[in-house]
């Protein structure tokens, strides 16, 4: 039981966020689980059996970590962007803004909500993947911490998107035109060793590439990159985005006139 008013407010926001995505679970939880299960069946099982090995593992085992990561990224991001934008749209964000809640608590509440959904979907997808592949879980610490950080970073991204969004199109533009391509090109389906040198270089500019690879390293123990460097980058992103969100909230961008 919390007694500090900030902790109570934080808990309240999380409860509200979780209640929201559970209430509309057919829109929030079911579709990603179905889509990614289809990836497992089609790419992993049917096509994968013809591809053979990738990075020293069965193709199925190679793509599972990437697909789990994809679920975490998309769901963390879209939970925060839709929830915060719809609160702006319905003006119920005013309930938060008139209350004595510091900005960092508001932000943390939404971020925790986004992470809750990202991790929930990620967990379900992981369970489903166990029907198709054995995951050795090479390093639980790396695996779990990279998932947490990735989920955090993309929840923050979703928040910034929502602050600037003025209509429902603005909510789907970034996920469709930026996030999805970056995920697909981030080495979910292939090892970048297969690419010509130039495209390997380009791939290395994609932050999602590092997240997917670190996660894969945590599970399989194999990676295209330096894991320490990937973590440093994740932490840096998280700090910068958190700072940017706080700055936007303080200015009242998109929420106070």
């Amino acid at each position: 039981m919390f007694t500090d008013h900030r902790l109570i407010a934080f808990e309240t926001i999380i409860i509200k966020e979780v209640r929201r995505f559970m209430r509309i679970w057919t829109q929030t939880m079911l579709p990603p689980v179905i889509t990614i299960s289809l990836y497992f069946v089609i790419f992993g099982n049917l096509v994968g059996s013809r591809i053979g090995e990738m990075g020293g593992f069965r193709y199925m085992e190679f793509i599972v970590p990437g697909l789990i990561m994809m679920a975490v990224i998309q769901n963390s991001y879209s939970n925060v962007v839709s929830s915060f934008f719809s609160q702006k749209f319905q003006r119920s964000v005013e309930e938060l803004l008139v209350a004595p809640i510091p900005n960092y608590v508001i932000l943390s509440g939404f971020i925790a909500g986004g992470m809750a959904r990202g991790l929930c979907v990620g967990f379900i997808v992981t369970l489903v993947s166990l029907f198709f592949a054995d995951l050795p879980l090479y390093s639980p610490v790396i695996t779990i911490s990279v998932v947490l950080f990735t989920s955090l970073v993309f929840s923050l991204g979703g928040f910034i998107n929502a602050v600037f969004a003025n209509n429902f199109d603005d909510v789907s533009i970034i996920p469709t035109f930026v996030l999805t391509p970056l995920i697909y090109l981030g080495g979910v389906f292939y090892s970048i060793e297969l690419l010509p040198p130039f495209w390997q270089l380009v791939s290395r500019l994609n932050p999602i590439f590092y997240m997917v690879n670190t996660f894969r390293y945590g599970i399989l123990g194999t990676s295209d990159i330096d894991v320490a460097w990937a973590f440093a980058m994740l932490v840096l992103f998280a700090v910068l985005l958190f700072g940017a969100c706080i700055w936007l909230l303080r200015r009242g961008t998109g929420i106070r006139s």
């Binding site: 109570i8 926001i13 409860i15 003006r91 309930e95 008139v98 004595p100 809640i101 106070r256 006139s257």
Partner: protein, 311 residues
């Protein structure tokens, strides 16, 4: 006497360039029931928005119970409850959840939040609706829910932005009774309204705002006294085919229909003189009421005066 609201030279220019407030200074005393009156677009909601921090002011000072809202954010927000003009709750959530959530935002522990939610939903006649999704409430119920939500943290100051817009007479009266009761119990209340009768019924003090300026700030009594004409509709007992001519100064009588007479009194004349004259004419009055709104007349005359005198 503690001052509940004290604003000084408040200015607001929106990003669009609209100047909504042009140097508003105002004080509302603790325990007061205060009306803020003004036509559409006068700046009432902007003023309230600034008090609740939803609108950022361009210039000026705001104090709530003597505390600066910039330096005492937590305390001043805790002291304030706002019922907005427009609906601003999630349409998909249940009534009880909305009020509970607001309590949580204000830092009330769950048990207390649940007690308060029950208390205020009951007081506002919405307890049976606690599990209903808010979008299924009627317009009047939505307003009452917003009142319950604003009270859940028991603020010392309650501000209502046109709380009875679109609410039927019966419900309006019960809302008035409710507001008078919590005012008697010590809550300072400020409301904006277009129903001038409302201000007259409820409020002790009043300010009139027009085009972002306060053009009148006085007690309701004084304001009403300043009016030099009062109009009443008098209902007569029998059919009226009598002559209404008389020689009483400051009184004019006019037949409205077969049963009623309009009496306009001016120059400090009171209703007794009208009744005396009618009595002499052999007309018995069975009931009477205020004609339309004296405030309305006053309101118009003030606006005219400020237009002629101002700028």
């Amino acid at each position: 006497m503690t001052v509940a609201i004290s604003v000084d030279k408040l200015e607001k220019t929106y990003a669009s360039g609209v100047v909504a407030l042009k140097g508003v200074s105002l004080e509302v005393e603790q325990g007061d029931f205060f009306a803020l009156l003004g036509p559409n677009g006068a700046g009432k909601s902007t003023f309230i928005g600034i008090l609740s921090t939803l609108v950022r002011r361009t210039d000026g000072d705001v104090r709530i119970f003597g505390r600066n809202v910039d330096t005492h954010v937590y305390r001043t927000k805790l002291d304030l409850g706002v019922v907005p003009q427009e609906i601003n709750f999630s349409q998909f959530e249940k009534v009880g959840d909305i009020v509970m959530t607001q309590a949580g935002y204000y830092g009330l522990p769950r048990k207390l939040a649940a007690q308060r939610t029950e208390k205020y939903l009951k007081q506002l006649g919405l307890w049976e609706k606690r599990d209903t999704r808010s979008r299924l409430l009627s317009g009047g119920m939505k307003r009452r829910m917003m009142i319950a939500r604003a009270l859940v943290h028991e603020p010392r100051l309650l501000i209502l932005d046109e709380p009875t817009a679109g609410v039927d007479i019966e419900l309006r009266r019960s809302m008035w009774d409710f507001l008078l009761e919590i005012n008697r119990a010590g809550t300072t209340i400020v409301l904006t309204t277009h129903y001038l009768e409302e201000a007259e019924q409820l409020c002790r003090n009043i300010a009139i705002i027009d085009e972002g300026r306060i053009i009148e700030d006085t007690s309701m009594k004084k304001l009403l006294l300043e009016l030099d004409t009062h109009a009443y509709i008098l209902d007569a007992e029998a059919d009226l085919d009598l002559d209404l001519r008389h020689d009483e100064p400051g009184l004019s009588l006019r037949k409205v229909d077969s049963h009623s007479i309009e009496a306009v009194l001016s120059g400090g004349r009171d209703i007794n003189s009208a009744i005396a004259v009618l009595d002499r004419l052999g007309i018995r009055i069975v009931s009477m009421r205020n004609k339309a709104n004296r405030l309305e007349q006053l309101f118009l005359s003030r606006l005219r005066a400020s237009e002629n005198g101002g700028d």
